[in-house]
């Protein structure tokens, strides 16, 4: 059995403002083994980014509040760590790649300087300035940017190149866990493929565990070992890549997600089957199943609190209808 790297237990996060409370994440649990890639999929606003920010403890101050739960990283609860110890983990043990490479680099610092900063902040080996610079060259080469450009500023790079810089920065310290929050969403399709390939290659080479947040099921199929489907702050279905993509039984929301993808072999000329309706208002979530208002199979029992139903040792879904068929 592989070693567990990260375990999130019953995590709930809300955003509290004077006007309202947004229940962004509502009791999610998942775990990640060393070297493994977990895909978290779901619509915009499902709480994917909030989950990622909570793991790194980068929620907006005062507004973002962890209601309950634990984030165990190598057995240690990150949520209970003093800020100073958490700072040492960020960028060194756990790194993050953000969605928009256009805005995630500081426009007034050189890219080499920004990568070197990550190294300098976690310089336990007391490497000299020259050694750090050599490492900057090395990581730039690793992501396919000529080291001669390290003195350039972000505005001198294209979007795809910037995302490579961001990746180089995140991987500079060879973290154990990389959280990638929609790393390719802001890029155009050809560049997306290049960046994904690069990420997969580096992940395999550095043996980094990864949480890949996306709403693109194609990306998940290419990159992930396991998949969690998130809806309105809950993980409605969890399983291996095979469970989710080829398994026979699914949560109705997962079915809806797959129904929203066009199929090449589909001869019927039918249009896409998008899921009707919108996600529930996160300030006022329904009792019971969160998907109830949009579910084609809704019944009375859906109004009760839903439990995870095991479909196989690796596959669970949070829908009572799946229970009946066992």
């Amino acid at each position: 059995m592989a070693e567990t790297l990260l375990e999130v237990k019953d995590l709930a996060v809300k955003y509290k403002t004077d006007l309202e409370t947004v229940f962004a994440v509502n009791g999610i649990s998942f775990s990640l083994n060393k070297g493994e890639t977990l895909g978290i999929v779901g619509e915009t606003g499902a709480g994917k980014t909030t989950t990622a920010l909570t793991i790194l403890r980068l929620l907006p101050e005062r507004v973002g509040v962890v209601g309950k739960g634990q984030v165990l990283f190598e057995g240690e609860d990150l949520l209970a760590l003093p800020e100073h110890d958490m700072m040492k983990k960020r960028g060194d043990k756990i790194s993050m790649i953000f969605q928009d490479p256009m805005t995630s680099l500081n426009p007034v610092h050189t890219i080499g300087g920004q990568i070197a900063e990550a190294l300098r902040l976690h310089n336990e080996k007391n490497r000299t300035r020259e050694q750090l610079e050599a490492r900057v060259d090395e990581v730039l080469e690793m992501v396919g940017i000529p080291p001669s450009r390290k003195g350039d500023y972000p505005h001198q790079f294209s979007g795809g190149m910037k995302q490579r810089v961001v990746i180089a920065m995140a991987l500079a310290c060879e973290p154990d866990l990389l959280i990638a929050d929609e790393p390719t969403t802001a890029l155009d399709v050809t560049i997306q493929a290049q960046v994904l390939l690069l990420m997969r290659e580096l992940r395999d080479r550095l043996q980094t565990a990864m949480i890949l947040i996306t709403h693109d099921l194609g990306v998940v199929a290419q990159m992930c070992d396991r998949v969690a489907v998130m809806y309105a702050g809950e993980l409605v279905e969890k399983g291996t890549l095979a469970d989710i993509f080829t398994g026979a039984r699914h949560h109705p929301y997962t079915q809806g997600l797959f129904g929203s993808i066009p199929k090449l072999e589909d001869e019927s000329k039918t249009l896409l089957h998008p899921i009707d309706g919108l996600m529930p208002d996160p300030t006022d979530l329904p009792e019971g199943c969160r998907f109830l208002p949009r579910c084609p199979h809704a019944c009375e029992k859906c109004k009760e609190k839903q439990e995870d139903i095991a479909l196989s040792p690796t596959h669970t879904a949070r829908c009572h209808m799946l229970e009946r068929k066992v």
Partner: protein
Amino acid sequence: MYKYVLKRLAWMIPIILGVSVIIFCILSVTPGDPGTFILGAGGTQADVDELNRKLGYDLPAWQRYFKYMFGALRLDLGTSYMTKLSVLDEVLAKAPVSVSVAFLGILTSLVIGIPLGVLSAVKQYSLLDAIPTFLAIFLAAAPSFWVGLMLMVFFSVKLGWLPSQGITSIKGYFMPMLSLGLIYGAQTLRFTRSSMLETIRQDYVRTAKAKGASERAVIWKHAMQNALLPVITVTGNNFGALLGGAIVTETLFGLPGLGTYIVAGIKAKDIPVVMGGTISLAILFSIVMLLMDLLYAYVDPRIKAKYAGNRG
């Protein structure tokens, strides 16, 4: 970059021409003539005409303009109608006072405004935000002569530390500096605060935190440089405006500065004084603006690239 500086310096020529034409036109269309002002009610029309002729005021306005501007080309800014003193000498004596008072005032405003602005942004909604913000609004609303008078009451009358008038010693600069520094510092504080608040919500600030940078490093290394850009613009404008516009402060503390010199000239229809003073101000203003733009380029590589005509 040098090319850009040269281009900007060359731009000063049309600016000076424009300023001089506008000022001269305004002076020409307003009623009154220097002879009447100098002789007062006692002079006969003949005496007034004679004096005007001596001053060269009998010529048509356009001729006087060209005469003045050709003189100015040879660094002759004319002599004052009233005092018979060389305008160039006067300007050279007064400009350093104006520049140093404006510079010291702006410097003080930055020293007060930037740290407090950053503090109140970082500690938004706390007492450390509320108190500086309250003081800033209070000072921004207070008339500048009142602030100056209060300083005078405190430092000259109560404590007796500083002279209330003049700059016979270096001490004389302190109160003008502080009064301008407080008023403009309030503005700088407000600007720094809002700019900082916007900057610390940027994605790259989050990226820096995700790298493991401390809160302090994030603020001073990553956010500061970006947040200062709009502050530089405002500061440059303030500095330029203060060169000739600190009239209240100059009058209050009895400072022989350019602002009061020009205003006195306007009142007496002393055309060489107004023209010479204004042209000097325009030159100083242009230089300050150029320096600010260069500072801007130094802080923001994107602007620098634009000046240098690079890609991006």
